[in-house]
């Protein structure tokens, strides 16, 4: 935040009970901010109840690109304290936070139940009373809240009013006007009770109406259809279900189909079948579903069928924490399905790059005739982001290599080729008839138990994927090539580390950052090159074990000073914590060697 009364970044956290309209207030706010041209991100968090219970959301709005949901709240809004406090570390309040709460709670501003912290300013606001005054019911509390935010921080007045009109138009002009009154009452309250230190958002750089607003699951599904996917087979599971839901709305229009199957296995099975029949196909799931799908993934590997599997990671094992992110499925994504198998894994780091990663997953699947896992996580998948328009013309869409006329003469489906990729036919193609199989097979797809054929086929299936290891475009490296400090981060944690990297660089720390889209196979040379100058650093991950760190150590050399910085799922990192780790690492590098000798 700037000290001179304007600011370029604002993190608002709201909490209340299920019926308070917290999420819809957040949606209105991010929608208005996005429309005005700000970069913004919204995350939601709920109790376990389907209806009612506590609910919260965070909206971060900035004139710069928002990379993560932000840390400490600039503004905390509690419609009741009991629900607010349930979110604990997800809605952290500090001495810089402005706290706004429902006056009807009867708690005096000096007695709010936030332990060990004195917020910068505290306002008890008669939110419910104003809602009733404006609309006759307390349902418009969230609209009053929007008025407060617009009044105090100068965000989105026109866009919010426009949004209210769009949202309530169907329910009649009276309701639109009532909500406008509720908004204006909130706004007036803010004007009548100015902040001790006024803070107004800087104006956004871009023009209004030029951004998308979308979550990761919808982006993934849209990217899949863009990439030519015409079949989705799956089973509902939190937090991936929205991918299937998007398909059920859209894919028919493109001549495709969806099967909501009887279970996870049938979901991926149908997708395997559709791929065998020549169509681009996918499934989506979360950890427990991935466990069930593993046998089919092995089948797709040995039958050399293109397939995209989305795993939106959540807290595990088993049911774990279905509504919170964790990066703990990497081991199972890389190593499940028995036998010697190499299955590419890609991880998006934001809603925006979910598009790139999804298109790439289909391209890799089709080019190399292999299952590919997109390892998303609950945060990337379910958070909403403003996204700048994506120029779809810059993407090349790959198709599987079909046999030519001459290759269909005495067609060998699994013919040994130099690059390991054999032309693939599909039912309906005359002369291409073959037996797809989970059983080991020779070049003509006939079953075999021959050790030498098995060895040659394994070699082929691994060889075809080796070009992935030199795909520099699947790695994002920032910072000076000779930096001594390093950060490696993937998935939603990458956004935390991108901001930490910028802060650390601004402080003068000599640091570089590597964010992989490709997690597996491990691109040994790319890491070796990256780590060459590095003496200390961290692989930052939201899991107990630090699974990428361990996989890197399994396949490539990681400098001894590079360690795993982990936190279990559902416990978000903040950029400043990563920066603090880097500071500590930089200090440790400055210890003269003699000191260490003396200590010995």
């Amino acid at each position: 935040m700037h000290l001179h009364g304007t600011m370029d970044d604002l993190v608002v956290g709201l909490a209340g009970s299920g019926g308070d309209g917290i999420v819809s207030a957040g949606e209105s706010l991010i929608s208005a901010a996005g429309y005005e041209g700000y970069s913004a991100m919204m995350t939601k968090s709920f109790g376990s109840q389907v209806r009612g219970g506590e609910s919260s959301c965070r909206v971060r709005i900035s004139t710069h690109r928002v990379q993560n949901p932000g840390g400490v709240l600039d503004v905390a809004i509690a419609l009741n304290w009991e629900d607010f406090l349930k979110f604990g570390a997800e809605l952290p309040v500090s001495g810089s936070t402005i706290v706004i709460y429902e006056a009807k709670t009867g708690i005096a501003p000096g007695a709010i139940p936030l332990v060990g912290v004195s917020p910068k300013e505290v306002f008890a606001v008669p939110i419910m009373e104003m809602a009733k005054q404006a609309t006759g019911t307390d349902k418009a509390k969230n609209t009053v809240v929007l008025g407060l935010i617009a009044g105090w921080f100068g965000i989105g007045r026109q866009a919010i009013l426009r949004g209210l009109e769009k949202r309530f138009a169907k329910k009649g002009a009276a309701l639109v006007q009532a909500n406008e009154r509720a908004f204006i009452l909130g706004e007036q309250f803010a004007k009548e009770h100015p902040l001790a230190t006024p803070r107004v958002m800087d104006r956004p750089v871009g023009e209004p109406g030029k951004k998308m607003l979308v979550d990761g699951n919808d982006m993934c599904a849209a990217a899949s259809i863009f990439a030519g996917c015409e079949f989705f087979g799956g089973y509902p599971i939190t937090p991936s279900t929205e991918v299937m839901q998007f398909f059920t709305r859209e894919v028919w229009k493109y001549g495709g189909a969806v099967l909501q199957a009887e279970d996870e296995i049938a979901g991926i099975g149908a997708a395997v079948g559709a791929s065998f029949a020549g169509k681009k196909a996918m499934t989506a799931t979360s950890g427990p579903g991935l466990a069930l799908k593993t046998e089919m993934m092995g089948l797709a590997s040995i039958a050399e069928l293109p397939l995209v599997i989305v795993d939106v990671q959540r807290g595990g094992p088993s049911t774990g924490i279905p509504t919170k992110p964790e990066q703990s499925d990497l081991f199972t994504a890389a190593f499940s399905a028995h036998g010697d198998v190499l299955r590419p894994i890609l991880a998006p780091t934001s809603v925006s790059d979910t598009f790139d990663v999804t298109v790439e997953a289909f391209n890799i699947a089709e080019r190399y005739q292999t299952p590919v896992i997109i390892l998303s996580d609950q945060e990337v998948a379910q958070r909403k982001e403003t996204v700048d328009p994506i120029d779809t013309a810059r993407f090349r869409i790959e198709e599987r290599r079909l046999p030519t006329e001459s290759e269909l003469v005495d067609y060998a489906r699994f013919r040994h080729t130099e690059d390991g990729v054999s032309p693939i036919s599909h039912p309906g193609m005359k002369g291409g008839n073959y037996q797809g199989a989970g059983i080991e097979h020779n070049e003509h797809a006939n079953p075999t138990a021959s050790g030498s054929v098995h060895a040659a086929m394994n070699a082929k299936r691994f060889r075809k994927l080796s070009p992935l290891k030199t795909r520099h475009d699947l790695f994002h490296i920032e910072g000076s090539a000779n930096a001594k400090l390093a950060l490696v981060a993937w998935g939603s944690v990458a956004g935390i580390c991108r901001e930490a990297f910028m802060q650390a660089t601004a402080e003068g720390l000599d640091v570089k950052l590597l964010v992989p889209w490709l997690l597996y196979p491990v691109a040994e040379d790319i890491y070796r090159e990256f780590f060459a100058s590095v003496r200390a650093g961290f692989v930052v991950e939201l899991s107990h074990q630090g699974q990428l760190y361990r996989i890197l150590r399994m396949f490539t050399e990681v400098p001894a000073g590079v360690t795993s910085f982990v936190r279990d799922g559902a416990n978000p990192f903040q950029p400043r914590e990563v920066v603090a780790k880097l500071r500590g690492a930089a200090l440790s590098l400055q210890q003269p060697a003699t000191t260490i000798a003396w200590e010995e």
Binding site: L213, A270, G278
Partner: protein, 296 residues
């Protein structure tokens, strides 16, 4: 009938569907008869081999696609039905056959069966029911009779078997038939009729295991036991009558069509085509699919 099936410009013979691969089955296995019946049925239907996708799971009988010239997919245990449904939805022009054993269909894959039935995708499911796990050398199967002694039931099975016919009828299948290689003509006929049926069709084949099955279940015994449903005067349009007859599964060997819905409902794949057609005009170009997310 499949839409493009009418265009039988070629005539096919059974041998056109026989591949060069030598079956791994034991001499005398009932599955030899089943594959012969399938060749004849496919010749009767008259679709070229490359327009046929033949999916199986795991087990002795699941090797069967490889002995045909169709596109085959010898997949994983119990999962042939989901794969076959994916194939048919991806390309409804294909003729899709599914085959497997009683273990594949009614044990490990049992959860998929009612859903394949209720979805009514136009595929034909042939189960080679031998009441035993043959490939793993003679363990109890879901259709093994109570009391059967096997290597996993040293003192006799304590379980009632599954009744595949009654299950299928109760699940709501619109076409349910049974055959035996003891009656090759009848078997080929019901398979052909099942393939021609517009919707999910099921054929249970009593296919003897020559190695682990007793004398009483071999082809020779079948010849003495089998009773054609036609000879009993059964009305194949009567589901309840079919269920009554199906109750004697395991005691009687009925052959022919138990139930054939005289007014077949539209198949899932036909409805999918309808929906695709109705919505096709609403597609924005793929390159502009993100436009819907714009905050305008």
């Amino acid at each position: 009938m499949n839409s493009s099936a009418a265009a039988t410009l070629h005539t096919y013979q059974a041998k056109d569907f026989k591949s060069d691969l030598k079956p791994i089955w034991c001499p005398g296995c009932g599955d030899f008869g089943v594959v012969q019946a399938i060749y004849r049925a496919l010749a009767g239907v008259g679709r070229p081999a490359h327009e046929i996708a033949f999916v199986s799971g795991i087990g002795c009988s699941s090797r069967i696609p490889g002995y045909t010239t169709a596109y085959g997919f010898n997949s994983v245990h119990g999962r042939a039905l989901p794969i076959a449904q994916g194939i048919k939805l991806a390309n409804p022009d294909l003729l899709v056959l599914v085959a497997g054993g009683d273990g594949d269909g009614f044990s490990i894959g049992g959860g998929h069966v009612p859903h394949a039935v209720r979805r009514n995708i136009d595929i034909t499911y042939i189960v080679m029911d031998n009441q035993i796990y043959g490939l793993t050398k003679g363990q109890l199967s879901p259709t093994s009779p109570r009391g059967l002694k096997t290597v996993t039931s040293e003192y006799g099975s304590l379980e009632e078997p599954v009744n595949p016919l009654l299950y299928m009828l109760a699940y709501g299948a619109h076409f349910v038939a049974q055959g035996t290689p003891a009656d090759m003509v009848g078997l080929a006929q019901v398979i052909e009729e099942a393939i021609r049926y517009p919707g999910f069709s099921f054929v249970n084949v009593q296919s003897p295991c020559v190695t682990y099955g007793g004398e009483e279940v071999q082809v020779k015994a079948h010849r003495a036991q089998m009773k054609s449903l036609v000879s009993l005067g059964h009305d194949s349009g009567d589901r309840l009558a079919a269920m009554g007859l199906a109750q004697s599964y395991g005691r009687e060997l009925h052959t022919g069509v138990f139930y054939k819905d005289p007014s077949p409902p539209p198949s899932f794949d036909a409805l999918v085509r309808e929906r695709q057609g109705a919505l096709a005009g609403k597609a924005v170009p793929r390159a502009r699919i993100l436009d819907a997310f714009m905050q305008k």
